[in-house]
């Protein structure tokens, strides 16, 4: 019955197509929701002309970007200029291969897991792959041969490097608590523990989320593309498809950070209060795990947009100071505290 062809080729292929399609669509509609929510916060209506209530706006935007003239600056470093968007987009999409959207389940008699793969070093893979994305930004900024792009690229490099450290340290606290690097196992550990890791690790979560906002170059850390200073930062010279890729990568990265935050700190696909029996009905409908996962991710994405609607932008040196002088020491102390706690209370074996 289970031919290896189906198990090893067809199922993953279908999953890849589905996940890629969903993620790209999600990223596109994230831009729609961002515009809509920002508009509503700003007493405006937002896009409402293309399709009913503007629902087709992302499609129209994508179409426009794809048919638009692709301008290549005459003095640009051509190969690198092409490579930039690719190197940003590919890692952002790659990460989705290890994100568990739900637990393994039975579907039409088959074992079915709503994720592409469960690697036992999932977290390491995420941290590693996501740091590759920065090269795309630096190279794109440098290859454009534009001073604003260059400054945007440099800012981005410094920012990503310095925020990677506290982010990694805050992830380590979760690993201590879960005793595993596999994302599925981490969620399982939260189920066993009966509470989300957010509760014991709220400091770590806070650091993780701040760093996540910084990693994705979002407000208030959107220095690499600070519009009022650097015009459009590293993608000043990009247009058409290539710009679309940068755009896609930014939004895909937001989804990644939110998904990882959900998995690490908010119990992944688990319902709220997983230990309270009385709330079991929250899990009773079909597709409940995926629903809870998406709800949590959506909440994070809303926070992203909310921040963008509210905060001014940090200055470059202040950003660095925050990263190295505040977040790093705090995360180190936090790591030690959590380690001590795990040691004393006896964490998972």
């Amino acid at each position: 019955m289970t031919s290896p062809w189906i198990a090893y080729l067809l199922v993953p292929l279908v999953k890849i197509v589905v996940i890629l399609g969903v993620v790209i669509l999600l990223a596109a509609y994230l831009s729609y929701f961002e515009r809509k929510i920002l508009a509503y916060m700003q007493i405006r209506v937002g896009p409402n002309r293309v399709g009913p209530r503007g629902w087709l706006q992302p499609i129209a935007d994508a179409l426009k970007l794809f048919v638009k003239e692709d301008v290549l600056p005459s003095r640009a470093e051509k190969i690198v200029y092409f490579l930039g968007p690719v190197m940003v987009t590919a890692p952002a999409l790659l990460i989705f291969s290890v994100i568990p959207f739900g637990p393994g389940m039975k579907l039409f008699g088959y074992e079915f897991a709503p994720y592409l793969t469960d690697v036992n070093i999932g977290i390491l893979l995420i941290l590693g792959v996501s740091s590759v994305g920065v090269y795309g930004v630096i190279l794109g900024g440098w290859a454009s041969n534009n001073k604003f792009s260059l400054m945007g690229g440099l800012r981005s490099a410094a920012q990503l490097v310095s925020y990677e450290v506290p982010m990694g340290l805050s992830v380590v606290t979760v690993l201590l608590m879960a005793n595993s690097l596999s994302l599925v196992k981490i969620v399982e550990a939260q189920r066993q523990m009966g509470m989300w890791f957010f509760i014991p690790g709220f400091v770590a979560f806070f650091i993780y989320f701040v760093c996540g906002v910084a990693e994705t170059n979002r407000n208030p850390f959107d220095l690499p593309e600070a519009e009022s200073e650097l015009v459009a930062g590293f993608h000043t010279e990009y247009s058409g498809m290539k710009f679309a890729f940068y755009f896609l990568a930014e939004y895909a990265n937001m989804v990644v950070i939110s998904s990882v935050a959900t998995v690490l700190f908010f119990g992944g696909w688990l319902r709220p209060f997983p230990s309270v029996r009385a709330l079991a009905f929250l899990d009773a409908f079909p597709g409940a795990p995926i629903f809870w996962f998406l709800v949590k991710v959506a909440a994070f994405l809303f926070c992203y947009i909310w921040f963008r609607g509210t905060f001014p932008r940090y200055r470059f040196d202040q950003l660095m100071r925050l990263g190295w002088k505040v977040l790093l020491p705090v995360s180190l102390v936090n790591l030690m505290a959590v380690g001590l706690g795990v040691l004393l209370l006896g964490g998972p074996r």
């Binding site: 001073k147 400054m151 009022s228 650097l230 609607g309 905060f311 001014p312 932008r313």
Partner: protein, 373 residues
């Protein structure tokens, strides 16, 4: 404000960047050539004139009333105060006394204009520093002020709402009620904007200690308006040389202490509240009577020269008129507040970072229409 910028790596290469004339943060067509060491500004050199229209030359061929629409286009965010300066100068040159009702209407229009101008400043300044939402909240209120202007004179931006000798129209019925309605709800809006910015740590970090200019330097560089008051100099034309009936209304001059961007921000926020206070008093005292003095049909001031200035939202806006006894001025010079305030920009940003340049351009509240004329 160090005369020599300390460079951590003296051998590093300098980079020269041209900010503008098309740049999101230069408020029009200002161009700043910036010499950078990394992100540190070694030298900034403003280049202006992209919007030069020869307004002063045009004045020489206009009649005095015909020159008023041209003043609308100087500082296009504050047309009413521009008009007020010009008509005030001509009235002093001719010895015309303005009927009190007209003077009170002028004061109301000017104070509303000050609020509207500060609103634009706040919105764009916040946008420059990265907070985009205040922009929309503030412009919401500005629309209400522009509606009041439309009710009064039929235009929203280029008002042309004053004439030599008084006002062209009386207030329409219901205007005072609408105006009162606006000013009663306005302080709550200001509090909302302050809630978004004043205590916000990012806003504070971005503005405190940025673009510092001391009181003595501010006077030396001829700063006027909020940039001067932010440095702690209590100086306002409305108090020093009161025009219209500013000596009859009570208001305070807010001043800062440190002369940095944050203090200038606070000064302008307070000025909005003071303007509300003035408008409220004007509405209470608004006398009856004519709005236009008895002026000759063709305005021919005697030979002579006059300088008259009003406290515009950006600073001291002066008109220097040399009359030859004819129907058009021999020479009409505008003392543009923004032009002179902008001159201090290189001093104020030297040694700061690129992001601070944007903040300082924002805090000087420049309008290129007035700088380039």
């Amino acid at each position: 404000m160090s005369p020599e910028v300390v460079r951590p790596f003296p051998d590093s290469e300098e980079m020269e960047i041209s900010f503008g004339p098309q740049h999101p943060a230069t408020h029009g067509v200002l161009r700043v050539m910036v010499k950078l060491d990394g992100e540190k500004i070694i030298e900034a050199k403003p280049i202006i004139g992209y919007l030069h229209r020869g307004t002063e030359k045009i004045f020489e061929r206009e009649t005095y009333n015909g020159a008023i629409p041209h003043t609308d286009r100087l500082d296009y965010t504050a047309a009413a105060t521009n008009n007020q300066g010009l008509v005030g100068a001509v009235e002093r040159l001719m010895g015309i006394t303005v009927p009190p009702r007209a003077a009170y209407i002028r004061m109301m229009l000017a104070e509303l204009q000050r609020i509207a101008s500060h609103i634009i400043w706040l919105g764009t300044h916040a946008l420059d520093i990265g907070a985009q939402t205040p922009f929309f909240y503030t412009f919401q209120e500005r629309e209400k002020i522009l509606d009041l202007y439309e009710d009064y004179c039929g235009a929203r931006l280029t008002l042309n709402c004053m004439r030599v000798g008084g006002q062209p129209f009386d207030l329409p019925t219901g205007w005072t009620e609408r105006c009162r309605e606006f000013i009663e709800q306005f302080p709550a809006r200001v509090a909302e904007w302050e809630g978004l910015l004043t205590n916000n740590r990012i806003w504070k970090q971005r503005t405190i200690g940025v673009g510092v200019i001391s009181a003595a330097d501010a006077i030396e560089w001829g700063l006027t308006g909020p940039p001067l008051r932010g440095s702690g100099v209590k100086w306002d034309i409305r108090k020093v040389f009161p025009y219209d009936h500013y000596d009859e209304v009570a208001f305070d001059i807010p001043t800062g202490e440190h002369g940095d961007t944050y203090d200038r921000y606070l000064v302008r926020m307070e000025e909005m509240r003071q303007s509300v206070r003035i408008v409220r008093q004007c509405l209470e005292r608004l006398p009856d009577g004519p709005v236009l003095a008895k002026v000759p049909k063709v305005i021919k001031p005697p030979k002579g020269e006059i300088y008259f200035s009003v406290e515009g939202p950006k600073g001291e806006l002066g008109y220097y008129i040399v009359s030859n006894g004819e129907a058009n001025p021999h020479r009409m010079h505008v003392r543009p507040a923004c032009f002179i305030n902008l001159q201090a920009l290189p001093e104020m940003v030297r040694g700061y970072l690129v992001a601070d340049l944007i903040a300082v351009i924002g805090t000087l509240d420049i309008v290129l229409g007035e700088i380039d004329r």
